[in-house]
């Protein structure tokens, strides 16, 4: 064992955190290296001081004042009242956004009306074995995936150019997203006013 390895094991040794092999190697090095042996003795002195300080007890009893404060805390339950409604609002917004994006984008790429895409996807879930042999359905799947990717890029770009309306179907998921964000902001402002 080298001195730097010994140094790494110094505190785990003092705290009895070494396995038998590490312990033996450590103790052997301490016997043969004077510098490291001196380090061990210095550490022992420090730990003796710390151990003796542990016996100085702080006596404190404030259970009554803590319980009085707890009894007067507002009865809002143990978790934040804002948390659940916000989670529901965010989750709903995301779901609506993704559905709109999925059908809107799929419709743009495949040229199939969104409702037909929905019907086809539902039938695929009900009878997955028929999907592989059905070119029309495969076209919808890949077209939709491709459309979602393209739409994401287009959507971001459209926002920057302020021309979402140039592609009307893209405006649907964009509007959904904006409405969701607006709803969350409105909800938070209204709720925090109500609680203050």
């Amino acid at each position: 064992m080298k001195c730097d390895q010994y140094l790494q094991l110094l505190d785990p040794y003092m705290d009895d955190e070494l396995n038998v092999g590490e312990r033996d190697a450590f103790e052997h090095h301490a016997k043969v290296c004077g510098t490291c042996h001196a380090r061990l003795e210095d550490r022992r002195k420090l730990l003796n001081i710390l151990t003796s300080a542990r016996n100085e007890e702080w006596s404190i009893d404030i259970a009554d004042s803590i319980m009085t404060a707890i009894q007067t805390m507002p009865a809002t339950g143990s978790s934040s009242p804002l948390r659940l409604p916000i989670i529901i609002a965010v989750a709903s917004t995301l779901i609506v956004f993704l559905l709109l994006m999925l059908f809107g984008a799929g419709s743009i790429v495949t040229g199939i009306p969104p409702l037909d895409i929905l019907k086809t996807l539902v039938s695929m879930v009900e009878m997955p074995s028929t999907v592989q042999s059905n070119l029309h359905e495969l076209r919808i799947i890949f077209g939709t995936l491709l459309g979602v990717g393209k739409s994401m890029i287009l959507l971001i770009w459209s926002f920057f150019r302020s021309s979402v309306m140039s592609s009307p179907l893209l405006a649907i998921p964009a509007a959904g997203l904006l409405a969701g964000i607006a709803f969350i902001l409105w909800f938070r402002v209204r709720f925090s006013r109500g609680t203050s």
């Binding site: 710390l50 003796s52 542990r54 100085e56 702080w58 006596s59 404190i60 009893d61 707890i70 805390m73």
Partner: protein, 196 residues
């Protein structure tokens, strides 16, 4: 996990606020030891201990029964103390005798047996040196020293309480002890010079 603690926590979550009292009575001593060893100001200790329990009560629904309640509340205590220290730095050295005690507050009591006046003197000097040295540690290093030496936690428990990897615990313990050692040695040297 102490089943008794768990039963009290369950009752609290069901709305029985008085069920929190046994938890306060059981853990106020260990929490006050942690806070006092990190902050060293009796009035602040009282306030922080109270805050820790109120915080624990309001977040009781987030408690994970896999870990002991003691570890969980120690984490809250250490985080609160670190937060306080970071806002307060640089801090002044505060001795017990300098603290103005409010009426009805409890002064820290030393419960150690006192064998001889000489031994007491040596111990008091060591205690003062240690206090000075600990107050010069960064909050993160102070936390590992307090949990290791005043809460008697092993490395794994410290890792859980501070939510840090085991390697970080070892590293911080080494750095903290090295610094304590050098501070105490430096102070010992100064004291001896003054005596001459």
């Amino acid at each position: 996990m102490n089943q008794d603690d768990l039963a009290h926590i369950q009752k609290c979550l069901e709305g029985d606020r008085n069920a929190f009292r046994p938890l306060v009575e059981r853990y106020q001593r260990s929490v006050s030891i942690t806070i006092s060893r990190m902050v060293y100001d009796m009035e602040t200790v009282r306030d922080l201990v109270q805050e820790v329990f109120l915080n624990a009560f309001s977040r009781l629904s987030t408690f994970d029964p896999i870990y002991p309640f003691k570890t969980w509340i120690q984490r809250i205590a250490v985080n609160r103390a670190i937060d306080h220290l970071r806002r307060k730095r640089p801090e002044m050295l505060i001795l017990d005798d300098d603290i103005e005690m409010e009426e009805g507050s409890v002064r820290p009591q030393f419960e150690d047996p006192r064998p001889t006046p000489e031994a007491n003197l040596v111990k008091a000097e060591q205690s003062e040196m240690l206090r000075h040295a600990v107050q010069n540690l960064e909050p993160d290093l102070r936390a590992v020293i307090v949990l290791r030496h005043f809460q008697d936690m092993n490395y794994d428990e410290i890792a859980v309480a501070l939510d840090i990897p085991l390697g970080t615990v070892k590293n911080r313990i080494f750095r903290a002890r090295e610094k304590l050692q050098s501070l105490i040695l430096a102070r010992e040297g100064t004291t001896k010079e003054n005596v001459r």
